[in-house]
């Protein structure tokens, strides 16, 4: 029984989703407990598997018992090492907290679609977990499409604007996934196998690595994944899709999807193509890290120019993608360690930011930066968490943001990639501008200065919602107007902003604590990551 635990990481949310489909459509109240229970099982299995990995080394799991026969893989293999063990824990943890946090938001924003939101969320999470754990290049594509299809639908559940963003995401996402599939096809032609280790073995053993088709495959896979992760020039779909989606969807997808894509890129780099080939033989480290530097600077400046809170978060995600791509491509151990450590840290930071912004928008009904005015008095706990995450984003010790930047900068300096180092520093400064402005709003400005304006904006947005409902006559059965930013009627009964209920606040406090813990125990985590990287040729 114990050796079946790795597969439970995937199966728990998958069957949880099916269970919600069977029961939740009739009994509304079971949706949330099933979702929490299945994600809890998944998190427990991930933790247990990671413990086994630490004790016994990387674990392999053969689906349906199709073990390797005659020196090559017959079936689909799952492989868990220190790195994707950590990523699996991160995914399950972030998903669990996000589902708990979003419970009340789901029933307020999309009351007619509660079971659907839970079904799709669980499918999305099982797709992401599967992509992280699988060792089969084609299985990766299938799981990628499972998670993408559920995210398209999750986004389109929102307003009509969200549906349009979801359509653009479908087009871009399909191009990205198809490029990945094509790249895998080129690898398959050359090596005749789909198992990542076997592909690597065949490439190395026969000197195939120098074949031009391998470079084509690498390029196709990278472009596909870059579209999917929203690297700067290819990020067009991301801000609209995440900011117009219902807030529960944004909170779930924002921290997870791009990070998992970056992990997949790193996995493809180290397990399939091999570090020696990428860093020594190809002269791509300079141009790619330059691209990443452009992404960091571009994302940061787009973020600072936004007035909408959620748009700003989305551009911050775009900037952070540049950190990790750059770290993976500077070409040494420190850079790669920093990139993987930042995957974990950035997922928690983004989650924490989405929590804070979600709470602020829900409480004040406003989605501009000025919504933060005077909030420290009315919700001190939330704002303390916000300060923690702001410090992490800027990169101040002892939060995890400082240590990931430390590794990234060290890697950049060792490799002589100065544009990347400069871009990291610029981005830190820009983050300081963004977050100190918000902190100043929260601590030193009183909310009454432009309450009238806020009310005006609120009334206007209400009118907008009515208009949306009017034009969407076919949706007359939907009891709420299709609108993204909705004020929770229970929460701001007499327009006095107070703290949110514990169901929303507890996950926020846990994430903020984790940001500090991940920073304090950074040496343990990076030692695990370094162990994992040693296993793949560093």
């Amino acid at each position: 029984m114990a050796d079946q635990i790795p597969v439970l990481i995937i199966l728990a949310p998958l069957f949880g989703g099916i269970l919600v489909l069977l029961l939740g459509l009739r009994y509304r109240s079971v949706c949330f407990p099933i979702a929490v229970a299945s994600l809890g099982v998944s998190l427990f299995s991930a933790l247990h598997t990671f413990r086994t990995v630490l004790l016994e080394g990387p674990q392999r799991y053969f689906l349906s018992g199709w073990e390797r026969g005659g020196g090559f893989a017959v079936g689909i293999e799952y492989r868990i090492d220190q790195i994707n063990g950590l990523v699996l824990i991160m995914i399950a943890f972030v998903a669990l907290l996000s589902v708990i946090h979003s419970r009340s938001r789901v029933s307020v924003e999309t009351p007619a679609k509660v079971p659907q939101v839970y079904i799709l969320s669980l499918l999305l999470v099982s797709g992401l977990l599967g992509m992280t754990i699988t060792n089969d290049a084609f299985n990766l594509y299938v799981l990628l499409e499972i998670s993408s299809l559920s995210s398209y639908a999750l986004i389109a559940i929102g307003s009509r604007r969200a549906a349009l963003s979801a359509f653009n995401y479908v087009i871009m996402g399909t191009i990205g996934a198809s490029f990945l599939l094509l790249g895998v096809g080129y690898l398959f032609i050359q090596t005749g196998t789909l198992n990542m280790q076997d592909i690597h073995g065949a490439l190395m053993a026969e000197g195939l690595i120098n074949a031009p088709s391998i470079k084509v495959a690498l390029m196709l896979i990278l472009i596909g994944l870059w579209i999917k992760m929203g690297l700067f020039p290819l990020h067009g779909w991301l801000p609209n899709a995440y900011s117009y989606a219902p807030s529960a969807t944004g909170t779930l997808m924002g921290p997870l999807v791009t990070k998992v894509m970056i992990y997949i890129m790193i996995r493809m780099m180290v397990s399939v193509f091999g570090i020696d080939f990428l860093y020594e033989q190809l002269a791509w480290t300079k141009p790619v890290s330059l691209l990443a530097s452009i992404a960091i600077v571009g994302g940061s400046f787009l973020a600072v120019s936004q007035t909408d809170l959620r748009k700003m978060l989305c551009y911050l995600i775009v900037a952070e993608v540049g950190y990790m791509v750059g770290g993976a491509w500077v070409g040494n151990l420190n850079g790669m360690t920093g990139a993987i450590y930042h995957i974990l840290g950035d997922a928690l930071m983004t989650l924490c930011l989405f929590f804070v912004v979600g709470i602020v928008i829900a409480k004040t009904g406003e989605h501009r930066l000025s919504a933060f005015k005077g909030l420290f008095k009315s919700m001190p706990l939330t704002m303390v968490c916000f300060v923690v995450v702001a410090f992490a984003m800027i990169g101040l010790p002892p939060t995890c943001g400082f240590f990931s930047k430390w590794y990234l900068v060290r890697g950049g300096l060792e490799a002589g990639q100065y544009p990347f180092v400069i871009a990291l520093l610029i981005s830190s400064l820009v983050n300081a501008v963004i977050f100190f402005r918000l902190i100043e709003f929260a601590y030193f400005q009183s909310p009454d200065s432009d309450t009238a304006e806020a009310h005006g904006a609120h009334g206007e947005s209400g009118a907008h919602g009515d208009e949306g409902e009017h034009s969407a006559t076919a949706h007359a059965h939907t009891p709420v107007p299709m609108k993204v930013y909705r004020v929770d009627p229970d929460l701001d009964a007499d327009s006095i902003v107070t703290e949110v209920p514990w169901g929303m606040k507890a996950p926020l406090l846990i994430v903020a604590a984790c940001l500090l813990l991940l920073g304090i125990f950074n040496s343990t985590v990076t030692a695990w990551i370094a162990d994992g990287l040693k296993g793949v040729g560093f």
């Binding site: 020196g71 359509f167 117009y244």
Partner: protein
Amino acid sequence: MDAFLENFNYIVYVVLMMIGLYAMISKNNLIKKLVGMTIFQSAIILFYVSIGAKEGAAIPILDHHQMHVAAAHDDHADTHKDKADTHEGEHADTKIHKADKHAAGAHSNHTSAEHASTHTDKHKHEAPHAGEHDDHDGHHVSSEINPAKFSNPIPHVLMLTAIVVGVSTLGVALSIVQRVHQGYGSIEEDDILNQIGPNADG
């Protein structure tokens, strides 16, 4: 000209892919964009199927009876193939792998077995390995089956999955277009963008 004919499938796949990409990027109508997306995906399916195809190859399903006959009557290898039931099919599959492995060993390179079969795929016109291989048939039970005579099933199986994925993507995308149409009363992109305006977020 020969190079053109040999790579005909691959040229067609690239052309189709470019047509699809063009439609996705430049068409104004959302449904036309989806048509482009489908062409794009079909091009990739054509690419994969071309990997696995070879001239005169049989479906890789065998039964036990046939395997014994196969050594003697190689030419009629495909006559009884459709009678194989699932169990026998699975069993025969493992046999094929064994044979493949043997073939790989015969060329004295330590490739995986499937590599050997794709290798022959690529050089289907020469097929020197196959002939070489036949000479040793009498000596090894496991080499009764000649992998060069069967098409590689893996790309086809992969594409069955990819077709399912493609159909579901199209389904989701069409329902999203319906949603957009309900919201904006139009499926022309410029129309919708006009309604949204430069700064409004409704």
